[in-house]
């Protein structure tokens, strides 16, 4: 069975083609193409601009994907698309493309929950069977565990997502959005050494990031570290490769702030994940979502899992960052169970909770 997955819930539009061999052997990725809309440094992506970007690219990407996978339209069994959660306008652009393809080619449509897509792709790539899932991205922060055909949310953010917190701090510091702000923060944080005091907000298994962002922004303003001027200075300095004096009384650098922000928010994430693991008695953790590419987060999670006698599963940017194949993977699992989405139900929604999906394809 061959399926096309179409993803466009945020600033990435991705088309993926997956093959599920009839003999039940390992599913194969035939194509995974993606194009990202990047706003200039200091700005975020707006829904209408992002939607325009997706509309402009989706047809070309589908063509590219079909060519790369070396399949024709006749080989395709179903068209899977992201139904939510995400930004309204970008979701709609891709959903319209999916409906059009379905009508044009006479293929079944499968609406997919974005979060479930991440989870299924992570399980496929890492081989983790029943892990506690930490889903961290620009729009979502959830700790999820599977129980009787639902992915249940044990803990989540009470306000903004962790990726949103990092992205917006990158904006404050005018760190480039290319390839993605979190990556650039991670690189800058590697030069940071001093831990600045930031709020630490964990409530049970939930956490909150907006206060941390405000505090970090406040520190950046106090020490005059925000804005494009400082970003230019920093770039010049790193080009010259001068060693900063490690005076403890000196004001923190931009790198120190990034370092402190990462250490604080990742500690919170690892803590709530550990709580969920203790609660459900699982020893495996799977990290998915864009922030899941962060190597420091993976390292911290690894130490925690090791101390509990377990292990951590993570993937790289091809599968962590939003992509089409994860939508294809989750959609095809549903399609096999006969769960298709009739045309009249193909509306997309900004709010679509992970635990609303009936996970019929798992029976453990």
């Amino acid at each position: 069975m061959i399926g096309i997955g179409m993803e466009g819930s945020a600033n990435k539009v991705g088309i993926g083609i997956m093959l599920h061999p009839e003999d039940g052997s390992e599913p194969k990725v035939l194509a995974n193409v993606r194009h990202t809309y990047n706003a200039p440094p200091g700005e975020g992506f707006l829904p209408k601009d992002t939607a325009r970007h997706h509309r402009a690219w989706v047809v070309k990407l589908v063509k590219d994907a079909l060519k790369e996978a070396k399949v024709t339209v006749d080989d395709v069994d179903c068209i899977c698309f992201t139904q939510g959660p995400g930004m309204g306008a970008p979701l709609q652009s891709v959903a319209i493309a999916a409906r059009m393809m379905s009508l044009l080619w006479g293929k079944k449509l499968v609406g997919v929950n974005h979060c479930v897509g991440h989870i299924e792709m992570g399980r496929l790539i890492t081989g983790a069977s029943n892990p506690v899932v930490l889903y961290v991205s620009g729009g979502n922060t959830q700790v999820i565990a599977y129980s009787s055909q639902r992915y249940r949310i044990f803990g989540e953010t009470l306000d903004i997502a962790v990726g949103n917190c990092l992205d917006r701090f990158a904006r404050t510091l005018h760190i480039p959005n290319d390839p993605f702000p979190g990556y650039n923060i991670e690189q800058l944080a590697k030069q940071g050494k001093r831990l600045v005091d930031l709020p630490y907000v964990v409530k049970g298994m939930d956490c909150s990031f907006s206060g941390i962002l405000a505090a970090s922004d406040g520190l950046a303003a106090t020490y005059g570290l925000g804005g494009s001027e400082q970003a230019k200075l920093d770039a010049e300095k790193s080009a010259l490769n001068t060693e900063e004096s490690q005076d403890l009384d000196a004001k923190p650098t931009r790198a120190d702030l990034c370092f402190s922000l990462q250490e604080t928010v990742f500690s919170m994430l690892v803590e709530i994940t550990e709580r969920a693991m203790a609660h459900v008695g699982s020893k495996e953790v799977l990290i998915v979502g864009g922030v899941g590419c962060n190597e420091r987060l993976q390292e911290m999670m690894g130490i925690m899992a090791r101390d509990r006698g377990g292990s951590v599963f993570a993937t790289d940017e091809r599968f962590c960052i939003d992509n089409g194949i994860m939508i294809a993977q989750a959609g095809m699992l549903a399609h096999k169970m006969g769960l298709n989405t009739p045309l009249k139900d193909t509306i997309c929604t900004q709010r679509f909770r992970t635990d609303e999906v009936w996970v019929k394809w798992r029976d453990d």
Partner: protein, 273 residues
């Protein structure tokens, strides 16, 4: 790949106590041991918050210290206010652990409470009810429910006392409520499940000092959900707990009003349609 789990080494001076502390439970944050205090005949509960190597050492010390001190402060305050909680015997937020004697986390030594947790009591009672429900007549059933109502009301009283003292628990479940065994036990009735004893609140690891209706209402809401998911048969009797709560202090009415709001709202709710 998965080695046998080894708890982190005990901090000094518990490496030398005899008999050695016995590990009771391991949560995400802390390990609970049974040990002795001063004299081998005086049992005590030892809560250890081991250091978390995944965290930056400065952050780790800050959080561990903050939390253990906060927990102890809440307990001391509650003991002073006459709320039944375990008394604090001693603590160290800069515990020395391991062979190298470095930073090993913090520990808190508390009074030992002898008795079952409410979760076990309710589970036993529900199991008994399930087994015998067919052979019970209406009067017996009502009598049994009345006993549970009485227990829930006493739990409500205990919570009211807690909130009246200006502390919220932060993690109320039936596992965090105990029944202190009475000196002379009365007849437990046909079920064999005793519900006698003073209700004692334990595990203040997430507690904080607050007198806001919002925090108090969330406390009650958390307990209501916990009872709903672990003791489905006792859930319809939750009203008795609220009744006990209402009787226990003056501000309870406004807290209960807030509880109605808390039940309705939230990110937890589906926003579809």
């Amino acid at each position: 790949m998965t080695d046998e789990y080894k708890p982190p080494p005990l901090p000094s001076p518990f490496t030398n106590t005899s008999p050695a502390p016995v590990l009771l439970t391991q949560g995400a944050e802390a390990h609970l041991y049974k040990t002795v205090s001063l004299d081998p005949s005086i049992p005590a509960a030892l809560k250890i918050r081991p250091s978390k190597p995944y965290r930056h050492p400065i952050l780790d010390r800050r959080l561990t210290r903050q939390r253990i001190v906060q927990e102890a402060r809440c307990l001391v305050k509650l003991v002073r206010e006459g709320v039944s909680v375990p008394a604090v015997l001693s603590l160290d937020w800069e515990g020395q652990g391991g062979e190298d004697g470095g930073w090993g986390g913090a520990w808190l030594l508390m009074e030992w409470i002898d008795g079952p947790v409410v979760r076990v009591v309710l589970e036993q009672w529900e199991a008994w009810l399930k087994k015998n429900s067919s052979s019970l007549d209406q009067a017996q059933l009502e009598q049994e429910e009345e006993r549970v109502r009485g227990l829930l009301r006493r739990m409500g009283h205990a919570l009211g006392g807690l909130h009246k003292a200006g502390v919220v628990h932060g993690d109320l479940t039936t596992s965090n409520l105990m029944l202190r065994l009475p000196a002379t036990s009365s007849d437990p009735g046909p079920t064999g499940v005793s519900m006698e004893g003073e209700v004692v609140l334990i595990d203040f690891g997430l507690a904080s000092q607050s007198a806001q209706d919002e925090d108090r209402a969330v406390d009650l809401y958390v307990l209501e959900r916990a009872i709903g998911s672990t003791h489905p048969r006792s859930e319809p009797l939750f009203e008795s707990l609220l009744q006990g709560y209402r009787e226990s202090y003056k501000g309870a009415t406004s807290t209960l009003k807030r509880l109605a709001d808390v039940r309705l709202r939230g990110r937890k709710r589906s926003m579809l349609g």
